[in-house]
């Protein structure tokens, strides 16, 4: 009895020492800096504005996103929907998005309906349901207001896919982890705009930095009537739509 306890304690002691040694090794390699390459996460707070009155449904944004981010075929980080509403029937709009609107839309010249395009993407909510449900801390709000995924932590449990009220997440068919719009984090932190905004021919989409007092977004928000998607979900989205119809879900 005594001997076996001694053995157990010796073994535990060895394990303990080993644990600390490994931890010391990890500490030196896992450093992240707050201000790297001239980019300070505390000085930005990213958002986007979308002007429905400017979207022509060309699908440039969907194609650009796919190329920039290697989005797998059949999945979308951003997509465009065409709404058709007959008269006052706001409850039953016809919504189509052939292949996410990637190759535009078949021309329709029906005069009896109201028609318009709605580009959609992750709303980078300030109270994100997806972040709240992630059991392992793989999905998070970055300090500069972007909802991101740590691929090395994601288990692929799909809680966040179900939690997102906007349908902006999917499981990557090869990586088997969740994937979503990063607001082109690799671009905006290098002083560029997102791929979708770069490719948008009418500036229907504009990247916005709410923390920068000189950003035109403040003028845009002050002078326009804007709306967010599903405000009743209390997710506080940061994609602001101008000219959004009440039928849009």
């Amino acid at each position: 009895m005594d001997t076996s306890r001694r053995e157990w304690l010796t073994g535990a002691g060895k394990l303990f020492v080993l644990g600390f040694a490994t931890a010391a090794g990890v500490e030196t390699s896992g450093q992240a800096s707050l201000n790297s390459g001239g980019y300070d996460v505390r000085k930005h707070y990213w958002a986007m504005t979308i002007d429905i009155e400017k979207c022509i449904g060309c699908g440039n944004c969907v194609r650009a996103c796919e190329k920039e981010n290697g989005v797998p075929e059949g999945f979308f980080r951003t997509w465009v929907e065409r709404y058709e509403i007959k008269g006052a029937d706001l409850e039953h709009p016809q919504v189509s998005s052939p292949d996410g609107g990637k190759h535009g839309f078949p021309p329709s010249n029906r005069a009896d309906t109201k028609q318009f395009f709605v580009p959609k993407l992750c709303n980078h909510c300030q109270d994100s349901p997806c972040v709240q449900v992630c059991p392992v801390g793989a999905t998070f709000d970055s300090p500069d207001g972007v909802v991101l995924v740590d691929e090395s932590y994601c288990l692929g449990c799909r809680y966040c896919v179900q939690a997102c009220p906007y349908g902006c997440r999917y499981i990557h068919p090869e990586k088997r982890t969740v994937d979503k719009c990063t607001l082109c984090y690799h671009r905006i932190t290098r002083g560029l705009t997102t791929a979708c905004c770069e490719a948008c021919p009418t500036q229907a989409r504009v990247l916005a930095d709410l923390a920068n007092p000189a950003d035109p977004v403040h003028e845009f928000l002050r002078t326009n009537k804007v709306q967010v998607l599903k405000p009743h979900m209390a997710t506080r989205p940061k994609v602001f739509y101008r000219g959004l119809d009440g039928a849009v879900r």
Binding site: A32, I56, F140, S152
Partner: protein
Amino acid sequence: MNRKWKDAAHLIRPAVVFLAGLLIFLGLRSALVPSDFGKWGHYRAGALEEIRSKPLRYAGKETCAGCHVEQAGQWEAGKHARVACEACHGPAAAHAADFDKVKPARLDIASLCSGCHEKDAAKPSWFRQVASAEHSGGAGCEGCHQPHHPKL
């Protein structure tokens, strides 16, 4: 003293076992949880740097204008001045990095123009649109319009 501690072994032993267990837990925790986890929230702060370091595909119009000065001048003066180069020409970061090796694909102008300008009821009315079959009878757009500076 001896009398006082004589029967204390049954308390000390579990205490030692408990402390050892606690130390093993703390040791394993510090080994398995990266040191930057929890720095800004319930996530690994290093993930930000990893996501930031992904490669670019779209170079941005400023990069294009850095070399293609003549075309940029034409484009800036025309109606398409707010349409970025890569909106039509496609991602060009690889071309910008090595312009001898990587050449952007030549564009099919007819499908390019109609991709935006084909008449559609869902497009906003301020946007210039034509039903291409009626407008040109299938003739190429570039016969009349110059894409960088589209005027008749």
